[in-house]
Every structure is written in structure tokens, then in C-alpha cells.
């Protein structure tokens, strides 16, 4: 085990090595390899079926890879999945919220699972962050899609995760929720969270990421730094590496 961890530098929050995932005969991920430094934001672009959601699910330890290794904060996802889950917040286009329960009951439930200390106060803090205090005792099923997404952001922040995994989080978000999402990517002590974000939206990805990866047919086909690219350059790179016009 010591040998396995040796090549993961301490400054790296996420290290993915030769990751493969197959569903029957279909290879969703075919040897994905990348690192994310602490405090860095990496955006993963790719056409439908490229393997973006599969990648996020494996990083979130929801799904097991077929082969390859993942280290998060130096811990192996295979051996320390529960410890890793404490350090990550997950936001997807699904909210993970129960429509029959109120916003408070949902956050209380997740707070219990994450062993959040001073649960009641923390719930009020995160709900204030996403601007949902007035709807705290409303059932989630009665909230608009945008509000549910804001509440989902609150859920993901409950346990103050240093790492955020976001899978096309902008789906269904209104303008206010997008502002909340941008703020959520900063840690509460002012430091930056480590972020891996998948999106179709090149403009938003360029704005949120420090580095970008383009995934196609289960492989990373392009890697670059956002500071060195404008939107037109990114569109060109995306088209050349995936064969799909963005």
C-alpha cells in the first residue's frame, strides 16, 4: 500500500491513475489519468456519452471503477471510501432531496449522516448562504427547480467539504443560483476549494476553471490552462479533439 501512495504528491487533492470503467461491452472510461492540485479548479468538457458523469460518480465513490486507482487527499478510494466521502461535496443536476420532506428535514437528515456538529446552527448558516431562509420549512416538492438546486448546494456545503465534485450543476439553475454556486466554490475561510466540474457550457467552464480537460470516448483528448484560451480558441480545440461542434 505504501508503494501505491508514494507517487501521489502531498499537494495533490485528487490523483486518478489509468481509470477504466466498462458497462458490459461498452467502455465508458478507457485509461483516464489526471491530477488536481489543492485549491485548483478543473473543468471537464465532453460531448454526450464521453464518460463525464461516470467519472464524477467514481470520484464520489458512488460507483466502483473496473480498474485503475484513485487517491483523494492521499487516501485510496478503494480502501477509505467513507473517509473520502466526508471530504467531498457532490452537486449534480439531480438534487438528492426528498420532495415529501421540508428543506429543514432534508438538511437535518444529511447532517445526521455526515455527523455535522451544531447541526441546527449549521443548517441555518448554509440556508442563509443560498438565500433560502424564508422557505426552510416548506416541503421540497413545492419549491421551484431553481430553489431546489440552491437547496442542493446548501446540502453539499453542510459538512464544509474541501473538495467539490460538480456534474453539470448549471442544469435548471436560475441567475441567482448561479451566483450562489460560484460562491460555493470558495471555502468559507476564504481559501479555495478543490473543484472538479463537468459541463457542456464552454463559456461557464472557462470562467470557473483554472485548467480544462476534454473527454471523448472515455479518454482525455485535450488538456489545457484556461488562462491561455479564449472562448473561440476553446471552441476550436473542442471541435478538433472531439469532432463535435460546440
Amino acid at each position: 500500500m505504501a508503494d501505491e501512495i508514494k507517487d501521489v504528491a502531498p499537494a495533490q487533492a485528487i490523483a486518478v491513475q489509468e481509470l477504466k470503467k466498462s458497462f458490459g461491452h461498452h467502455l465508458a472510461l478507457n485509461g483516464v489519468d489526471f491530477r488536481v492540485a489543492r485549491g485548483e479548479s478543473v473543468v471537464v468538457f465532453g460531448p454526450n456519452g464521453a464518460g463525464k458523469t461516470t467519472l464524477i460518480k467514481i470520484l464520489a465513490t458512488i460507483m466502483n471503477p473496473s480498474s485503475g486507482r484513485i487517491f483523494i487527499d492521499g487516501m485510496s478510494a478503494k480502501d477509505s471510501a467513507e473517509k473520502i466521502r466526508r471530504r467531498i461535496g457532490v452537486i449534480t443536476h439531480q438534487t438528492f432531496l426528498y420532495g415529501t420532506l421540508t428543506a429543514y428535514e432534508n438538511l437535518e437528515f444529511y447532517g445526521r449522516l455526515y455527523d455535522v456538529p451544531r447541526r441546527k446552527e449549521r443548517i441555518h448558516e448554509v440556508v442563509e448562504t443560498v438565500g433560502m431562509t424564508s422557505r426552510l420549512h416548506d416541503r421540497v416538492g413545492t419549491l421551484s427547480r431553481g430553489m431546489q438546486q440552491r437547496l442542493s448546494i446548501a446540502r453539499s456545503l453542510l459538512h464544509k467539504p474541501p473538495i467539490m465534485l460538480l456534474d453539470e450543476p448549471e442544469t435548471g439553475l436560475d441567475q441567482q443560483a448561479l451566483v450562489v454556486l460560484r460562491e460555493a466554490l470558495r471555502a468559507e475561510d476564504g481559501a479555495r476549494r478543490t473543484v472538479v466540474l463537468t459541463t457542456h457550457n464552454l463559456e461557464r467552464g472557462l470562467e470557473l476553471g483554472d485548467r480544462l480537460l476534454i473527454l471523448a470516448r472515455g479518454r482525455i483528448v485535450y488538456e489545457g490552462v484556461t488562462a491561455s484560451l479564449d472562448l473561440a480558441g476553446l471552441r476550436e480545440a473542442y471541435h478538433q479533439s472531439t469532432g463535435v461542434k460546440a
Binding site: 432531496l97 426528498y98 415529501t100 420532506l101 428535514e105 449522516l113
Partner: protein
Amino acid sequence: MSFLKKALAITRKDVLSELRTKEIIFSALVFTVLVIVTFNFAFSASQETTALVAPGILWVTFTFAGVLSLNRAFIPEKEENCLEGLMSSPVSREVIYVGKMLGSLLFMLIIEIIALPVFALLFNLPVFSAPLVTVTFLATVGFVAVGTLFSALAVNTKAREMVLPILFLPMVVPIIISAVKASGLALAGESWGALASWLQIIGAFDAIFLVVSFWVFAFVIEE
């Protein structure tokens, strides 16, 4: 301790959700009362005949009411896309299993607690005896232990509500047969000694189903 606290958090959430929707208890109770009433009219015969068929009627009712209840253990999680939320939380898959199992056990026991007096009233049989209550409780534990596992398995299939009974009922046949036999003896007023062998069989299946389901659940729930 943390294991049980988190499992109970999942049970608590399921109970709270059920209190709002009343989907499980209401549908299973309507089904239970309808079956008992229908059988009561079908077998309006002598007390001897009634005593002979009553255990079968009781367990047919509990079995299908249980299937209705178990079907709802994971379907709401899937429908609301919350299963991945649970799986990305820092709890082991076994915690999810125990939490879900305790919820289903509670719902089934509530259905049985309400159904037994109706059964006693219509069939004029002594259902409030310690042996019958023990048989019912033990058989329900085994039923729910394996049912929760199969409910998680069926939830990823297309015809999930049909798949559960097809997969699950053959597995629980030993418990149902033992429960019918033991219930028959209990309703006839037999002693604990007469029931002992059936209770041992139910207890053994409970232990096997609990242990195997507990260990296998992680493989079932992970795609």
C-alpha cells in the same frame, strides 16, 4: 454506536416520509382487510374448517401485504434520485441496509398489529397468544431481512414492482411454510414445546437471511 445512529437516521427519514404520504400503510392495510374479509365470506364454514385454513389465510395476507410494503423501500429513493445522495454520504452500504430494513420491519409490524384484531374478529380465533405473536414477529424479521435485499436488487430493473415478488417469494418459502405450520399449532392452543421445531427453523432462516443480506447488500446496491 455511530453505525446504529446513522441507520436509525435513515429509518427516521423513511417514517417521516411515510407519515406524509401514507403510501405503504394505507395501501397494505386496505389490501389486508379486503383479503381477510373476502376469505371470511369464502370459508363461512364450521369452526374446525376455519381453524384448518386460518393460518394459510393469515400468511397469504401478510406475504402479499409485505410485498406491497417492501416494493416501496427503494422505489421512492430511485424516483427522487436520492439513492446516489445516500451512497455519496459517509455511511457504509451496510448502514443503508439496516436503516431500510428497520423501516420496512416497522411498517410490516404496524400492518400486522392492525390486521390481527380484524382477523380475530372475523374468524373468531385466539390470535392474542404469546406463541402466535412470537411466530409472527420472528417470521416477519426473516421476511423483511431478505425482502429489503431483493427490493434493492429489483429497483434497478424496468418492471421493478413485478420483479420483486418473482425473485423474492421463492426465497422466503421456507419461512412462510414454517410460519403457517407454527401459526396453526399456536391457533390450536398447542404448547411452546409443540412449536419449538418450527420456531427453530424460522430462527435459523432469520439468522442466515440477516447475515447473508447484510454482507451481500453492498454488491447489490453498487452498479
